[in-house]
């Protein structure tokens, strides 16, 4: 198992090199920010997509302070920060950066990138998701994105090509769901940290290769020794985002006696439970799946009822012992949802721990963070 994970990690790290080679051959490199930007459309346009989702280091968020106040979440600030520090190998060669516009954090950082004369293209995602016109708006935004991608690449996004890409993406989802299903048994060979990493690898490895690797991994996992002992507290890891590289918190949970048996994150992870239907108008199907069918993201309004219900369903179905809520500094909307969720979980007798990160994992910050996690898991164990 470890070998497959290492190969996938190497494939992810190698992606910028492959993109540069593809660019030399005339392919367009298109970076994108957020799950509301369908990478399938970028692939269908014959371009190479690259998800901007790096985080977990303190310097990049601080690098943008020259341009903005610090009251933006560190993930959003990192998006431009890595580029400003010269640590982003892809942005300098990107032909286009497609950024979803759903919250003020990404919105402001898109402006900063625009000011830095980066080729930003914005896809509007209205948060009032229950109103008819907002779905139409998002649907039209995807149709406009199609035009933009076709113009940028000179390639037509045909229904057939898009269908092929959606099927490939669904194939990855299907395999991730199989791996996720293994987590229903606590004596499981793969933990939540590796599962989150697998999701990340799926964004950076070629689709076909990823499907093959996941098949091999599933086969391997069937005979692999359990990584977690029976009785290990089953944790639902929920919240905003685990950016690529920001693995400290999930790692600490699993190193200190917890097992991330389920996840519910808005970004940085594939929405692997929601396949795009392959019959009919594919762009409309994509829009419907992301905007209407999938459990709404926190930033949608009002979404708390659906989200609380979904968490409670996960708690029941996945036999969750406790919930760890992971959000970033200055994520006010997540703060508000966290309060509601904590109340509901409290009434159901499910322990809840809120953790907030500013990507400051210094020695001094790590001690208290570890204490919180260790204490929480120890208390959950005692209560079991």
């Amino acid at each position: 198992m470890q070998n497959i994970l290492k190969e996938l990690e190497a494939g992810s790290l190698d992606r910028p090199k492959r993109l540069k080679a593809a660019k030399k051959e005339g392919k367009k490199i298109i970076e994108y920010i957020g799950n509301f930007v369908p990478e399938e459309m970028i692939y269908a346009a014959g371009a190479e997509p690259y998800l901007m989702c790096r985080g977990g280091e303190p310097e990049p968020p601080d690098a943008v302070l020259e341009y903005m106040l610090r009251f933006m979440n560190p993930y959003a600030r990192s998006l431009a920060g890595y580029h400003m520090l010269g640590l982003d190998p892809v942005t300098p060669v990107a032909d286009l950066i497609v950024a979803q516009q759903l919250d003020c954090h990404i919105g402001r950082i898109s402006e900063v990138m625009e000011y830095m004369e980066l080729p930003i293209y914005k896809v509007g995602v209205p948060p009032d998701w229950k109103k008819d016109y907002t779905f139409d708006y998002y649907h039209k935004a995807l149709l406009k994105l199609k035009d933009k991608l076709e113009k940028e690449t000179g390639n037509e996004i045909t229904e057939d090509k898009l269908l092929e890409e959606v099927k490939a993406s669904n194939a990855i989802n299907e395999r991730l769901r199989k791996i996720d299903a293994l987590r229903e048994n606590t004596e499981c060979p793969i933990g939540g940290t590796d599962f989150i990493k697998l999701n990340h690898y799926s964004f950076f490895n070629d689709t076909e290769y990823m499907v093959e690797a996941l098949d091999k991994l599933i086969e391997k996992l069937e005979t692999e020794e359990p990584k977690f002992a029976k009785g290990t507290p089953r944790i639902l890891f929920a919240g905003h985002i685990v950016a690529v590289g920001d693995y400290v918190v999930p790692r600490l949970i699993e190193e200190n006696g917890g097992f991330i048996a389920a996840d519910f994150l808005d970004e940085g992870i594939r929405w692997y439970n929601w396949d795009v239907p392959v019959e009919g108008d594919i762009i409309k199907n994509i829009a419907e799946t992301k905007f209407l069918v999938k459990t709404p993201v926190t930033l949608f309004q009002p979404a708390w009822r659906e989200r609380v219900d979904y968490v409670m369903k996960l708690v029941e179905e996945k036999k969750i012992d406790a919930v760890v809520w992971y959000q970033l500094a200055f994520d006010e909307i997540y703060d508000m949802e966290c309060t509601i969720l904590a109340k509901n979980l409290g009434e159901a007798g499910i322990p809840f721990l809120k953790l907030e990160s500013s990507y400051e994992y210094s020695r001094e910050a790590m001690g208290p963070l570890r204490t919180r996690i260790e204490s929480f898991i120890e208390a959950v164990k005692e209560a079991k």
């Binding site: 322990p351 809120k354 910050a365 001690g367 208290p368 570890r370 204490t371 260790e374 208390a379 005692e382």
Partner: protein
């Protein structure tokens, strides 16, 4: 038959504590000393002191659990347990039925909620700044007010009109206190103002974590020696707060109980 002895060593940011207990969980000895930069040595030294006080040798100590900020540094420890859990365990053993623990140590403060079975259900901790911790008093007391830590509590109880210290930051609070002193405000009123400021901050921290400060409330940590802070909590919460008699040893005591439990479990396995 030789008695089994278990040790809990709590290496805090300011002080290190060790407690030895026997099979009946009776405290045989307790030792405390300042924590140096070498946390392993601090832990070993305080453990040696506790053994000396109890008149026991190393061989009779069957299991050692380390806790506190420096718990991972103690090389002789058989296991480590986080301090929040140890505080909970130790306090409930000493004060059965405790539902809320307010613990203010040298560099951090915690509020812990327990259920009727003594299981921790919620906790909150302040770990990123000195405000709301023992260090807040250390910085502001002797140098500014010219009174010792021991005198501060009784002095503050004589306050008739506590001043309002609004700054949450130790550094800004220092400026505020200097201003009060230059205006001729009485030390008693400044002391009580400090107590109320720290209590207000810790209550807000707990409430942010949905801790309702259910009774019985037990106050532990070095700052629990300050009767003025206890009074401030009682005034603001409008509830009775019991300060622990030896407020600094609950973490080490809890660790010793864990040591006993782990030893017995290992033996049974």
């Amino acid at each position: 038959m030789e008695e089994n002895i278990f040790a809990g060593v709590d290496i805090g940011s300011t002080t290190s504590k060790a407690v030895l207990i026997n099979d009946r969980r009776e405290i045989l000895s307790y030792a405390i000393q300042f924590t140096s930069f070498n946390r392993d040595k601090s832990g070993q030294d305080v453990f040696a002191k506790a053994m000396e006080k109890a008149g026991v040798d190393r061989k009779s100590v069957k299991y050692i659990v380390a806790t506190g900020y420096g718990r991972r540094s103690l090389r002789i420890a058989d296991d480590v347990v986080p301090e929040i859990v140890c505080h909970g365990k130790g306090t409930v053993e000493l004060y059965p039925g405790t539902r809320t623990i307010i613990d203010i140590g040298g560099q951090d403060s915690k509020v812990i909620e327990l259920d009727q079975n003594g299981i921790i259900t919620k906790f909150e901790m302040n770990d990123k700044c000195a405000a709301g911790t023992g260090r807040f008093f250390e910085v502001l007391t002797e140098r500014l007010l010219g009174v010792s830590m021991e005198e501060l509590g009784p002095l503050s109880l004589e306050s008739e009109k506590p001043c309002v210290i609004s700054s949450m930051c130790t550094i800004f609070a220092e400026s505020e206190i200097i201003s009060f002193l230059s205006e001729g405000v009485k030390k008693e009123d400044i002391s009580m103002g400090m107590n109320l400021s720290i209590a207000r901050r810790i209550i807000a921290m707990g409430k942010a974590g949905r801790i309702m400060f259910a009774e019985p409330i037990v106050f532990s940590g070095g700052v629990a020696k300050n009767v003025g802070v206890k009074a401030a909590f009682e005034q603001l919460l409008k509830k009775k707060v019991d300060a622990i008699e030896n407020p600094q040893n609950t973490g080490a005591f809890g660790a010793a109980i864990y040591a006993q439990g782990k030893y017995e479990k290992n033996k049974a396995d």
